[in-house]
């Protein structure tokens, strides 16, 4: 199996799997529907085109920098002065960084990687007003999603890493798993169709588990170093 590695980072992201009407929520990690949508957008697929090949992909997400939830309040006012529209609340995940592993057949991933380098539609992190900071594609590797989520170096920003002095850091992962796997949870996040006429999501079975990765900013604390001298 091959794996496509993505780094999803930006000031704001929003990954809702349960938004209705004027309250648009976000989850704490990218949704499968959001990631599949991003790949489909990169390829320039229209919303009513099939995504059957993409839903076969196995997706794993690692929360490298959890960020924080911010609430945004929005009003809409018609130009003609008629009655204003209902107030709406949007929730964003600010300051977060995720590593996403997309596991699947080599050829398909190769095609997606090239689409991510020159995406047909501009990519965004869950909502159009959230462009990614820097390119999304990290690279393509051989292995499984689980392996790469364990092996890939920590993707958090420098300022965030420097707050951790330990040699390793424990990060939460959310990965597709067969239904019924002990400890798994079901989320309504398996996209079937993005066609706006009958948008459809099925249940997705995911397993949450921590992985431990090294901290490249780890420094052994040596108080004598500051004193200089011959040591």
């Amino acid at each position: 199996m091959s794996v496509l590695l993505l780094r999803l980072a930006g000031p704001l992201q929003s990954w809702g799997t349960s938004s209705r009407f004027t309250r648009r929520n976000t989850d704490r990690a990218p949704s499968k529907s959001g990631v599949i949508g991003l790949l489909a957008a990169a390829e320039g697929r229209a919303r009513n085109e099939s995504i059957d090949d993409l839903t076969m992909l196995r997706i794993g997400v690692r929360i490298d920098q959890p960020g924080q939830v911010e609430r945004d309040f929005q009003t809409a006012r018609p130009v003609d002065g008629s009655a204003p529209l209902p107030l709406s609340y949007r929730f964003y995940l600010a300051d977060a960084v995720f590593l996403v592993a997309v596991e699947g057949a080599h050829d398909l991933l190769e095609r997606l990687a090239s689409a991510l380098r020159t995406p047909v539609f501009p990519l965004y992190l869950g909502r159009r007003s959230c462009p990614p900071a820097g390119p999304v594609l990290l690279g393509m590797r051989e292995g499984t999603a689980g392996e790469l989520l364990r092996e890939t170096p920590w993707q958090a920003s420098g300022w965030f890493r420097r707050r951790h002095s330990d040699a390793t850091v424990s990060l939460e992962t959310v990965t597709d798993c067969p239904p019924g796997t002990p400890g798994s949870v079901l989320v309504r996040d398996e996209p079937v169709s993005f066609d706006p006429r009958h948008r459809q999501y099925e249940w997705r079975s995911v397993l949450r588990a921590p992985v431990t990765v090294g901290n490249p900013d780890h420094r052994v604390h040596d108080p004598m170093e500051l004193l200089g001298g011959d040591g």
Binding site: L12, D72, D95, T118, P122, S129, C130, S157, W159
Partner: protein, 377 residues
């Protein structure tokens, strides 16, 4: 396939102001790079951009976003054939329903014509086309029937420049949806920003003139505000715009109008209180054929210490260094780039693009975009 993307990066200082506030009246903020920043939402800046189009484009190229669609169409029907004045409302309703747009009774007002249940974005050309259809159906005499297919086609062709740029959503009939060609990011300050409170007192003139009265204020209150140097970013997908508008020339005008309007407009929130209208200190316009790239990462670490003494110069330096790094690391060479700056403070950006004036830059982008579209055809 050759593609054309226009990225616009802006550094802009806004003095004490409250151009975009939340439901408690506080200026909007967000955390980035671990520090609290001033934020102006993308929706707010898109609205002011669209408002600025009025002075840049002919009305026939623009659209109107309203619920009062029946009234709008009825007026156009009457304008085209004054003899239909009495039945214009009924005709308008039938035409819109034939096009797949659901209508319901106006809220609050009893006598008012029906409205759509949400804001409907129609181009002036679409309104004229639908009115023509209604007028010819009425002229045929007998029971007026509006052809559904034709009505839908007329609601979907001749998109206006603003619909093509910002998109349109029609909940009742998704075939009438238009995907936006523009993506606007939330503006964020390049430094840590905290909201401040302005305490004010208001004098009661009449009371002050009365010698019997005490000298106290008639009213007291606070206004929340902040001041910030913002990084703003937007990108235009020219190919998408061309597809929606159906004409190279219209797409070129739309790109130029968007660039001018996005760069020079400002959300109107508390404008009369703060008179905060500024123009950007530095603008970088990049034409690409690969992917849009935001340089917001340049400001993930907030400006601090000595950089704060010359925020604009330091921001331009950060933007130039980061932009070059990203372009080198990922081999993302732009097709062309221009920069515009006030004075020497934005000089660092000349490392990313040719320095010129804003008018020249906008025209050059338009010319390049037109050339690329012609080459693709």
């Amino acid at each position: 396939m050759s593609r054309t993307i226009v990225d616009i990066h802006i550094i802009q200082t806004v003095p004490p102001s409250n151009i975009n506030r939340d439901d408690t009246g506080s200026p909007k903020t967000a955390v980035y790079g671990g520090t609290r920043r001033a934020r102006v939402s993308s929706q707010a800046w898109k609205r002011s951009t669209r408002d600025a189009f009025d002075s840049m484009l002919d009305t026939s190229e623009l659209g109107v976003r309203t619920r009062r669609v029946v009234e709008l169409l009825a007026d156009e029907i009457t304008r085209q054939d004054s003899g239909l004045k009495d039945q214009a409302g009924k005709l308008a309703k039938a035409t819109l329903e034939a096009a797949g747009i659901k209508l319901k009774a106006a809220r609050k007002k009893d006598e008012a014509p029906d409205e759509s249940g949400y804001l409907l974005f129609l181009s002036h050309a679409q309104v004229a086309g639908l009115a023509e259809l209604a007028v010819s159906a009425a002229a045929a005499g007998g029971t007026v029937t509006i052809d559904k297919k034709e009505a839908k086609a007329r609601a979907d062709q001749k998109q206006s420049v603003d619909i093509a740029l910002f998109g349109r959503m029609v909940a009742d009939d998704t075939e009438l949806n238009v995907d936006a060609a523009v993506q606007v990011a939330h503006a964020l300050s390049v430094h840590e920003a905290s909201n401040e409170y302005d305490y004010y007192t208001a004098v009661d003139d009449h009371k002050r003139a009365d010698s019997e009265e005490d000298a106290g204020a008639g009213m007291i209150g606070t206004v929340e505000f902040n001041s910030a140097t913002l990084y703003r970013y937007a990108t235009v997908n020219v190919d998408r715009l061309r597809d929606t508008l159906g004409s190279d020339d219209a797409a070129r005008r739309a790109v130029e109008a968007f660039a001018r309007a996005f760069v020079t407009s400002m959300p109107s929130g508390k404008q009369n209180t703060f008179a905060n209208r500024t123009l950007p200190d530095a603008v970088l316009v990049v034409v690409r054929d690969t992917q849009p790239i935001s340089f917001v990462g340049a400001f993930e670490e907030a400006l601090r210490g000595r950089e704060q003494d010359s925020r604009i110069a330091a921001s331009a330096r950060r933007l130039a260094d980061y932009g070059k790094e990203v372009q080198d690391t990922y081999d993302q060479r732009p097709v062309a780039a221009w920069c515009v700056g006030v004075g020497d403070r934005a000089a660092a950006l000349t490392e990313l693009g040719e320095r010129t004036t804003f008018d020249v830059a906008t025209k050059a982008v338009g010319a390049l975009v037109a050339e690329r579209m012609a080459g693709r055809a």
